[in-house]
Structure formats: C-alpha cells, structure tokens
C-alpha cells in the first residue's frame, strides 16, 4: 500500500508540469532568453510579480507574445521596448536612467558620499587633535607615575 502511495507521489510533478504553458523554441539559447526576459518583465496586473511568476491572464498573454517575438528573431531590447511602449517604464524591473529616475539611481551614491564624508571628517578631526595628557584617566596617570 505504502509503495503504491509512494509511486503515486512520483507522478505529482507530472501534474504540476501540465499546468505550466509550454513554448517551443528553435534553440536552447532562445529558450534561455525567454526565461531571463520573462523574469525581467513585470506583470502590470499583479504587481511585484514577474510575468514568469504570475498567473494573471495578462501575464500569460505577455509570455505568449514574448515567445512569439523571440521566435521571430526579435532582440531582447526589442521585446522590452515593445512592452515599455505599451505599459510604461513600470513593466521592466530595470528602470531606465532618466530625469524621473535620477533619485533612484543616484540616491545611494549621494548617501554613501555624505556618510563617507562625515566619517572622513570625524577621523581627520580625531587624528589632528593633540594628545593631551589631561585626557588620561586618574588611574592611568597613577600607573604612569609608578613606572
């Protein structure tokens, strides 16, 4: 009985695979491009999922269109531009470098510069400050005197 159940369990992945839509490609390279593109394109309906992950109807349509375009010889750039023209910058997980994304791209650099500047200033100040014996703790002075 247990053996039979285990055998049935082995069949489970087959049922799962049947749900995922299958696209035929001319080459392994095309299939790899399809995988990376569908990971990089964002589903406009269920936001924060890529079209590869999403079950939404529109994501399925977008996957089908991506596959079709790849088979027809479109470059990765063509595919991303196709969707960007229709759904806006939102659709790509790689935002373009533009005026409205300046903060996004340069923000981290600015923060690091400010933080680095502050740390540098602090270090410089600490190294420039003359070593003053008065800063020593009383017990330290005592020890020094004993030597």
């Amino acid at each position: 009985m247990i053996r039979l159940l285990l055998a049935l369990c082995l069949l489970l992945p087959l049922a799962a695979a049947a749900v995922i839509d299958v696209y035929e490609f001319d080459s392994v390279e095309q299939e790899a491009r399809f995988r990376s593109l569908t990971q990089e394109l964002r589903c406009p309906k269920c936001q924060n999922q890529s079209i590869a992950d999403s079950d939404a109807d529109i994501a399925a349509d977008m996957r089908a269109r991506t596959a079709e375009m790849i088979r027809d010889g479109a470059s990765d750039r063509d595919v991303v531009e196709f969707f960007r023209a229709r759904y806006g910058d939102f659709v790509s997980y790689r935002p373009p470098f533009a005026v409205n994304t300046l903060l996004l791209w340069l923000g981290p650099v600015v923060v690091v510069l400010i933080g680095g500047g502050l740390v540098g200033r602090q270090l410089r100040r600490a190294s420039q400050a003359p070593l003053d014996d008065d800063d020593m703790q009383p017990d330290e002075r005592q020890r020094e005197n004993e030597q």
């Binding site: 406009p44 309906k45 939404a56 109807d57 529109i58 023209a85 229709r86 759904y87 806006g88 939102f90």
Partner: protein, 177 residues
C-alpha cells in the same frame, strides 16, 4: 555658529524624507500612467460583433468625442458599470465597445439581455488591440478626442463620479462636445 548649522542637517534630511513619504501616502499604486495619452489610437483591423463580416479600424474614432470601453462577459465590474454606460449612451455619448478576450455568442447574449450602450463593438478575441493599448484588465475606458487621439485612460468602473471628475473636465476644456 558653523557647528549649529551642521547640526541642522539631520533635521532637514528628516523633513525631506517626511515630505517624500507623505506624497506617496494614499496614492493608488494600481493605477498606472498610460503611455498612450496624447497618442493616436493604435492601428488595428478587427471584426465587428454586431454586423456581419465587417472589419473595423481606428477611423471609428474620428470627428467626434468618443469613449473606448474594454469589456467582457467574464468581467464582474463590467456588469456594475453597464447601467451607467447605458445612461451615457442615452445622453448621446458615443461609446465604442471592445469585447476583450470573450466568446462572441456570450457577448451577443449579454448585449441582448442587458441592453447595448455601444455604437459599435470591436471583437478582440486574442487581446491584440488590448495589448497595443496597454490594457491589463477589464473594464478600462479611454477618452478619445475628435482627432482620434487618446486623452485619458481610466481603469475600473466608470460611474457618475469618474465621469464628472475625470472625463467631463477634459471634454469641456477643449470646448467641444
């Protein structure tokens, strides 16, 4: 003096962050800006649901203000907005329906039973026109000016409030109805 100015920096940064985040509060992240606003209706050639063997194109939207309404019988919100579309049609608003990824028979039954607010219905079975418009769900409604350019994209239900606040000001703003 110099020192006290430096001490203000964290406060200023904090206030800037407050302003930035406050702006984001309450914003509807589901609403995406349409890339097509200001653009002509994309080219298409698709059959009509009502007439026999007629192909429709972007010419439908010329010479008058019109609405392009994406609908389907599988879309619950479409049933909700349907009475309001009928009311708009009675007021003389030209509404072109796009039957989006639907079954023709079901769509005809829907219009026969609930009434037809559309001057014409485009059959977009594969969702190609929808994709060219950047549609990601139904219903969606586009306002198109007499030059055939898209002026507004509205996602979700069209109701009195949306019509008064979003659509009418644009139509009146350009002085034509």
């Amino acid at each position: 003096m110099k020192k006290s100015l430096w001490a203000l920096i964290p406060l200023v940064l904090f206030l800037a962050l407050v302003v930035l985040l406050y702006n984001g509060l309450g914003r509807d992240t589901e609403e995406l800006p349409s890339t097509l606003v200001g653009q002509p209706v994309p080219a298409f050639s698709l059959p009509s649901l009502i007439g026999e063997d007629r192909m429709l194109g972007p010419k439908l939207f010329e010479d008058r203000w019109s609405l392009l309404n994406i609908w389907a019988t599988w879309c619950p919100t479409c049933y909700v907005e349907h009475p309001y579309l009928l009311q708009l049609a009675r007021q003389g608003v030209a509404i072109v329906g796009v039957n989006y990824k639907d079954n023709d028979e079901k769509a005809r039954t829907y219009l026969a039973e609930l009434g037809n607010p559309y001057t014409e219905v485009i059959v977009d079975k594969r969702g190609t026109l929808g994709m060219d418009l950047g549609v990601y769900g139904a219903p969606e409604t586009y306002l198109i000016n007499p030059q055939g350019h898209i002026v507004l994209r509205h996602t979700g239900e069209v109701n009195e409030r949306a019509w008064q606040q979003k659509f009418l000001p644009l139509i009146k703003g350009e002085g034509v109805q």
